[in-house]
């Protein structure tokens, strides 16, 4: 097992016109499970491929433990990769697929190899499929075979490129647990790419959030969720998304009021809360998560603001209440709060749960420089 270090890793395409990965620094501890998450095209796959050795970095280095493997050919790196479309060899049986890696990278005798694969297949509950060809398998089975193929090699580093995105919701949940379980069992270092933030949150020991080739934040799921370093991360992590409102801050240095005239919003920040942060009289973006918004069905006027209900989506365990504050302003409420479309309701949220982002840079103004620096370490 190995520690994986990316050292100012950079990848440009088309003679530098496209910077797919922009000087990323990241360290994945031995046996750690790190998920890399970000919107489509942010460079996740490219990063992963550089770790696998399938893409040559423009600059920077990849190290396994302390060995620089930047120039080592893919076939000699101790990695296994699960591809998005599985890339199971369609002409080989499941057995053939699973033993291929062993055949290529070890001197094992065929019998021994088979035995090992059979064992592995039993562990994964696919021993009945060993003689089938990939097209005879269902999505979940393919997924398991792809996993099995990767594990069979006993790699030191495990790479996953959106391995679950072709599965349906149910199966996805199942496979997530299975992947995690296997990773822990084998104690392999794992790097898992996904664009699904929920997947990223539930699976990773740590999350690395990428945007536009740049690393935004690295941290434990709860940390990232609670202290997003900027508006991008705040909006990206969490479902439903954080609500954003453009606001003006009025401050006299010690106390501050957040105001949005359009929405009739006025929110006073306590002095303790403001202390130590540099707030100016300037436009900001206010962020509040849907689950931190309490709906008051019969507003008394004491609420932070009052607004009308646009749509109520009941999803069983909760209700999503769309509010007319701005497009897509959502509150998550318990199933018993069930206002009608058009109702006037009150909206309440607490100081501890709000985020305030610089309107230009998008950075969370309540974080200190050190906190920001720590977030990407």
């Amino acid at each position: 097992m190995a520690r994986v270090t990316l050292d100012t890793l950079r990848k440009e395409f088309d003679r530098g016109t496209i910077v797919a990965v922009d000087d990323i620094d990241l360290e994945i501890g031995d046996g750690e499970f790190v998920t890399v998450v970000g919107p489509s095209g942010c460079g996740k796959t490219t990063t992963l491929r550089m770790v696998a050795g399938l893409e040559e970095p423009t600059s920077g280095a990849v190290r396994f433990d302390d060995e620089d493997v930047t120039d080592v050919h893919a076939k000699e790196r101790p990695v296994a990769m699960v591809f998005q479309n599985y890339a199971l060899y369609p002409h080989k049986t499941v057995m053939g697929n699973m033993e291929f890696g062993l055949k290529m990278s070890t001197d094992m005798a065929p019998d021994e190899r088979r035995e090992r694969v059979t064992e592995m297949a039993q562990m994964m509950g696919i021993e009945d499929l060993l003689d089938d060809k990939p097209d005879e398998l269902s999505g979940g089975q393919k997924q398991r075979v792809a996993l099995g193929r990767a594990i069979a090699r006993e790699p030191e580093v495990f790479l996953f490129d959106e391995p679950l995105s072709n599965l349906d919701a149910k199966l996805r949940t199942e496979m997530r647990a299975e992947i995690q379980k296997l990773q822990k069992e084998f104690g392999v270092t794992a790097m898992y790419v996904t664009h699904d933030q929920e997947e990223a949150m539930t699976m990773g020991d740590r999350l690395a959030i990428l945007n536009d080739g740049k690393l935004q934040q690295v941290g434990k799921p709860t940390e990232v969720y609670q202290n997003p370093v900027n508006k991008f991360v705040a909006g990206f992590i969490g479902s439903p998304s954080m609500n954003f409102v453009d606001v003006e801050v009025e401050t006299d240095g010690s106390s501050a009021t957040i105001r949005s005239d359009d929405d009739g919003l006025a929110f006073e920040l306590s002095d303790e809360y403001v202390a130590g942060h540099e707030l100016e009289n300037a436009p900001y973006t206010l962020g509040v998560r849907p689950e931190n918004i309490r709906i008051v069905e019969n507003p008394t006027g004491d609420e932070t603001l009052t607004t009308t209900v646009e749509v109520v989506e009941p999803i069983g365990s909760d209700n999503y209440v769309h509010l007319a504050i701005n497009e897509d302003f959502l509150a998550r409420s318990t199933p018993d709060i069930l206002p009608e479309t058009g109702d006037e309701v009150g909206v309440v949220f607490e100081e501890a749960n709000i985020h305030l982002f610089d309107a230009e840079t998008g950075e969370d103004v309540f974080l200190t420089e050190e906190e920001i620096a720590a977030a990407v370490a």
Binding site: A52, A80, A87, F100, S105
Partner: protein, 353 residues
């Protein structure tokens, strides 16, 4: 060994499929009858299917008429193509004389039909074990020359086409576009070139003493097949996702392993098409072969042509037809065996308008 077994089982499967075709047809008819009876399908619906099928069958028959006609001619008495009594010769005169002639008298299998058998000789001068034909005075015939040429063509052709197609499909290198462009331009110039450049070719070959050399001729056919087939295979390979190769690489496979274990199996339909085309390039050509070879080395195609022009003023049709039918047999077998692959292999993902 396993390849042989796989091949055998493949052939068996094909034969079984063919043999059970009538049975499947019968089941289909029964079902149709049953469906009509139970009202699952209307009679009109079934009629439409029957009519369409009949129409298809009629079309096939019309298109294949010339071959059918000539086959009946090959069974006829005498040597003339026409008979004044109708299109087809009198069925009562059908016989296999012409085929007997091809097998036992022509140079098809053995010169003058003098059949021999292969024999391994132990302790000859040329090594421990040598090979020779026994039981024949005249030696092996045109078929062996043809097979030899085709083998050379196939080996050389595949040896050059497959790597080149792979490189064109997967790699960037200097001159890639230009060479590919050139190939596309030459795909068709090659076809009529043989007649146009016959003399030039002859002088080229004789200058270097390469006439009457089956090996060189095989190479020549391979050369003529290169542009088209390289391009064809390249188009096919373009549609194979790169991720398989990458998966293999991550699995620790070397470049050669990847080619052997992943690329080649996945390219099978494309290879089947190329196999047929390259085979035909070496199998059917006769003009150059006749010019460059001496009679003892003539392949089947030249022999066939010679039968066509044998008479001073006319062709001995029955023999000609029988010879041609046997001549086309190997190609037909190869094609039937590979039909599905060929149909798959000729679908040009990149060609959609």
């Amino acid at each position: 060994m396993s390849a042989i077994r796989a091949f055998a089982s493949f052939v068996a499967a094909k034969l079984i499929a063919l043999a059970t075709a009538p049975q499947r047809f019968a089941v289909m008819v029964q079902r149709a009858v049953y469906d009509v009876r139970t009202g699952k399908r209307t009679a009109w619906d079934v009629t439409k299917s029957v009519l369409m099928t009949l129409f298809g069958l009629a079309m096939v028959l019309v298109l294949l008429f010339p071959l059918f006609w000539i086959t009946t001619a090959s069974l006829a008495e005498g040597s003339r193509l026409f008979n004044t009594s109708g299109i087809f010769p009198d069925p009562t005169t059908y016989n296999l004389g012409a085929y007997r002639w091809v097998i036992f008298e022509s140079d098809f299998f053995f010169v003058d039909g003098d059949w021999g058998y292969p024999q391994l000789v132990l302790g000859g001068e040329s090594g421990l074990v040598s090979f020779r034909w026994a039981g024949t005075e005249t030696g092996p015939g045109a078929l062996f020359n043809s097979l030899y040429i085709v083998s050379v063509t196939l080996v050389a052709g595949f040896g050059m086409i497959v790597p080149a197609a792979y490189a064109f499909s997967r790699r960037q290198f200097v001159g890639r576009k230009r060479i590919l462009y050139g190939y596309v331009l030459f795909t068709q110039i090659g076809a009529g070139l043989s007649i146009a450049t016959l003399v030039a070719l002859y002088s080229l070959f004789s200058t270097y003493g390469l006439t009457n050399n089956l090996f060189i001729l095989g190479l020549f056919y391979a050369a003529s097949a290169i542009p088209f087939n390289t391009w064809l295979l390249k188009t096919y390979m373009d549609n194979i996702p790169v991720s398989y190769e990458e998966a293999a690489m991550v699995d620790g496979a070397s470049f050669l392993d990847t080619i052997r274990e992943v690329i080649l199996p996945l390219t099978k339909p494309g290879l089947a098409v190329v196999l047929i085309f390259v085979w035909l390039a070496g199998w059917n050509e006769f003009i150059i072969a006749q010019t460059l070879l001496r009679p003892e080395n003539y392949p089947l195609s030249v022999e066939l042509y010679n039968i066509a022009t044998e008479g001073r003023f006319s062709t001995p049709w029955t023999r000609f037809a029988a010879f041609a039918n046997l001549f086309a047999l190997p190609v037909a077998i190869v094609y039937f065996a590979a039909q599905r692959s060929v149909e798959d292999g000729l679908s040009f993902g990149g060609m959609e308008g």
